[in-house]
Symmetry: C2
Subunit: 253 residues, 2 copies
């Protein structure tokens, strides 16, 4: 009996996101993991993920917590999962965790990357992880807009769930835009992200980068608290959950 912290990489292309839904457990990452863990333990198991990635979104290092009955070492849990999981989901790390550790509730922040491919010809080997982008992009105005989005704000304009009664205030601590050859990579770090927030921020910054929206309009857009004033939701394919951050004391056993 013990609590475990798993680090999980997945190619989300063929899944209906992280979160298990009533009837389609096999089509979600959580459902696949729980299925293999139930087989290991001999009874149903519930696993908690740090981020509920959407359909088609990938993860380099999703974190999950799970309490398992039985006397398994972390190495046994990881080896069993990697043996029975499909080849687009992998456990890259598994450790014992304190009983109070909860992957989502204990998380302090997350990093997401949104990657665009601007080349004339597609990159066939990474085609599932990059969103093709063919319009000329000006990075300087995007960076200016990004600077105005940093900090603690009500991000309701960037939230796809229009009826939420929960707080939509979040702190964005990093929003970098880098060109790496034909790739353009947007890096987002913050204490939490609303439903579709990274993808709507990306869609809005792409409008800035193509001259459709001035960087100086960001404060008014935040103040509007109105999803319909922001840009489109960028496709899931280019988004990857890159890292989840925890306070040091939460990781201690």
């Amino acid at each position: 009996m013990g609590n475990f912290r798993l680090t999980i990489a997945y190619d989300g292309s063929r899944y209906n996101g992280w979160q298990r839904l009533g009837g389609s457990a096999g089509g979600t990452i959580q459902g696949r993991l729980e299925g293999v863990l139930a087989q290991l333990c001999g009874h149903p198991v519930e696993i908690q993920g740090a981020g509920r990635t959407d359909a088609g979104v990938h993860a380099r290092a999703q974190v999950a917590s799970v309490a398992l009955s039985g006397d398994f070492t972390p190495e046994e849990v990881a080896a069993y999962l990697n043996r029975y999981l499909p080849d687009d989901i992998a456990v890259t790390d598994c450790r014992r965790a304190a009983p109070r550790f909860h992957a989502r509730l204990s998380a302090q922040g997350k990093r997401y990357l949104y990657r665009l491919w601007t080349g004339q010809a597609p990159d066939v080997f990474r085609r599932k992880y990059l969103t093709p982008w063919r319009e000329p992009l000006e990075l300087a105005p995007m960076e200016e807009a990004a600077g105005l989005l940093l900090g603690r704000h009500d991000f309701r304009s960037f939230c796809a769930n229009r009826r939420t009664k929960k707080s939509t205030v979040r702190t964005l601590t990093r929003l970098d835009i880098q060109r790496l050859g034909e790739e353009v990579c947007l890096t987002f770090e913050g204490d939490g992200f609303l439903y579709h927030m990274v993808r709507i921020l990306t869609g809005t910054l792409l409008e800035v980068g193509t001259g459709k929206r001035p960087p100086s309009s960001m404060p008014a857009l935040l103040a509007a608290r109105d999803r319909s004033q922001a840009g489109p939701t960028a496709p899931a394919r280019g988004l990857i959950l890159d890292e989840v951050f925890y306070p040091q004391e939460v990781l201690a056993l």
Copy 2:
């Protein structure tokens, strides 16, 4: 009317190799390219590839030549192909070529990479391009064996086509073995490669790296001219045609 030189990248995972076969043109890279070019030109077109990669083998820069009727610019040909090809095949370059240019007959040499993944957990994002390898590998004896394979030899022991009456003499000009984190990459350069030659060389070097075969046995293995004395054929998945070399004068218009 003109001759073109195309550079093509593909994820070979779901194809039955480069070469079109009677009934299954759609399942080969050559068949797919010819299908789109026929649509462009309005009549059947034949394209020649530099290397006939096997089923499941990838290419970063396969080269092909094709003579097209009609008045197309190289940009138009590339754009049309990239528009209608499936997303696991891409034309990364297209230029006019001299009428005498033939992708296979004009080639002077090729570079292939064979890549292994030795990590405990699979690399989910590159799972289709790396062969998993879990036994401990000693690189020093592999390098010693590689040194004995360099140069001009009869490679019949490393040829899967046992009945060929053609010469099996080839010159191997480079065989490097590098560890890059959890990846082990074998680089092969030579004037030509026999059927399955890179994969049988890899399978044999993996036997050397796991202590099943001494490096010093390479000269006798070459001299045997007997496929059954070499190691197994490594899986297609880890193999990629990385570059095709041409003499400068052949590339001139």
